[in-house]
Symmetry: C2
DNA sequence: CAGGAAAGTCTACAGCCGTAGAGTTATAGG
DNA sequence: CCTATAACTCTACGGCTGTAGACTTTCCTG
């Protein structure tokens, strides 16, 4: 699904990147347990054994996929939090990125869909504590920055799950403006020191 | 794990209830795909074939388990929302029910851990829209009640995922009072008309 | 242009899954 | 006490999973 149809010349780094991209997509859609190595491989136009060859085992691949998936959104979060009205900016970005037809925000979606797998949850906890939470917390001021950062991520993840994974009608079919207006004061409250 | 060790007399309704209880537990822990019929059966001191005999197929069992799991928390939610300070009451209940050692709130946990399974997500959406969201929405006043109800559920689910399923340190190891104080204004804002 | 290393594939193996129907055992009613 | 019926189990199938090592093809270098 990554678009490559021609056989692609033998290029280790490009193949590796293609596998990683496919892994992010499949893990985001099906979760850790639901994703099959053969399916990921097919998405990159490759066999499952090559995946093993590049990433060792499934856990290793998952850890890399989740790390890669989280790097991009974090950069966005960073710039958003530095603005004038961070709460509104987060709300707008979140509503826009989780729009029904939009390409899933794989960063959290991977974690979210993999929470039921014990191994995946452990890996996910380490990744999320070392990257997104830390980054958000660094931009907050006042007391309980870690807890507030964790709650921001909780709201983002919960909203994303209900809107994208579950597809709750009240969130998926509503006017985005309404959702933004409801979310803004919540984020605002968490960003500003309590 | 439901405690029954003796063979239990042949009692169809009791056996059915035992299977359902085991199903809630296993689905909550492992999600739809991760849960095995044999594991659920073993938890009820029974074979997998009997599960099939009582509930038809896995989808049917899942639908019943999720419906049963949601009925209890909804009743609690109802009484909580009728009180004087509903936001604080929800926050307190949520923090208490998701405490690290506590028995999981299987209602949302089942959905949450099963979101990656397409079939489970569809079943889950129907169940959640027909029961919890509807119930919460019915207790709200003002505009956008459906959206606000959905956001309440999103925050509850996200918090639960980050605290119980992922085990984020900032939420799992913090003073419950701090978490309650941070969550209260968020719920308060969603409960009262915007 | 040849050779060797790197890139990629083939076949296979246990182990689990949901499903299926035939077979067995305990319980209740006459 | 005996029997009919409901409750329950046994064995098995096909399909999927992650993993494994041996094999083949392509490309770069000398």
């Amino acid at each position: 699904m990554t678009g490559e149809t021609r056989p692609r010349k033998r290029d280790a780094t490009a193949t590796r990147a293609a596998i990683l991209a496919s892994a992010r997509e499949v893990f985001a859609r099906s979760g850790y347990d639901g994703a099959g190595l053969r399916e990921i491989a097919a998405g990159a136009g490759v066999t499952a054994m090559l995946v093993r060859r590049y990433f060792g085992d499934k856990e290793r691949l998952f850890a890399e996929a989740i790390a890669a998936a989280n790097s991009a959104p974090i950069i966005a979060t960073q710039s958003v939090l530095k603005g004038e009205h961070p709460g509104a900016a987060i709300a707008e970005a979140l509503v826009q990125l989780t729009a029904p037809g939009a390409k899933p925000l794989d960063g959290f979606l991977i974690l979210l869909n993999s929470a039921s797998s014990v191994r995946a949850a452990q890996i996910g906890r380490k990744v999320i504590e070392s990257a997104p939470q830390k980054t958000v917390a660094a931009l907050l001021e006042g007391e309980n920055v870690e807890q507030r950062a964790a709650l921001i991520l909780s709201l983002v993840a919960g909203f994303q799950m209900m809107r994208q994974a579950i597809g709750l009608g009240a969130l998926a079919d509503s006017d985005p403006r309404v959702l933004e207006d409801l979310l803004t004061p919540l984020f605002e409250r968490l960003v500003k020191e309590s």
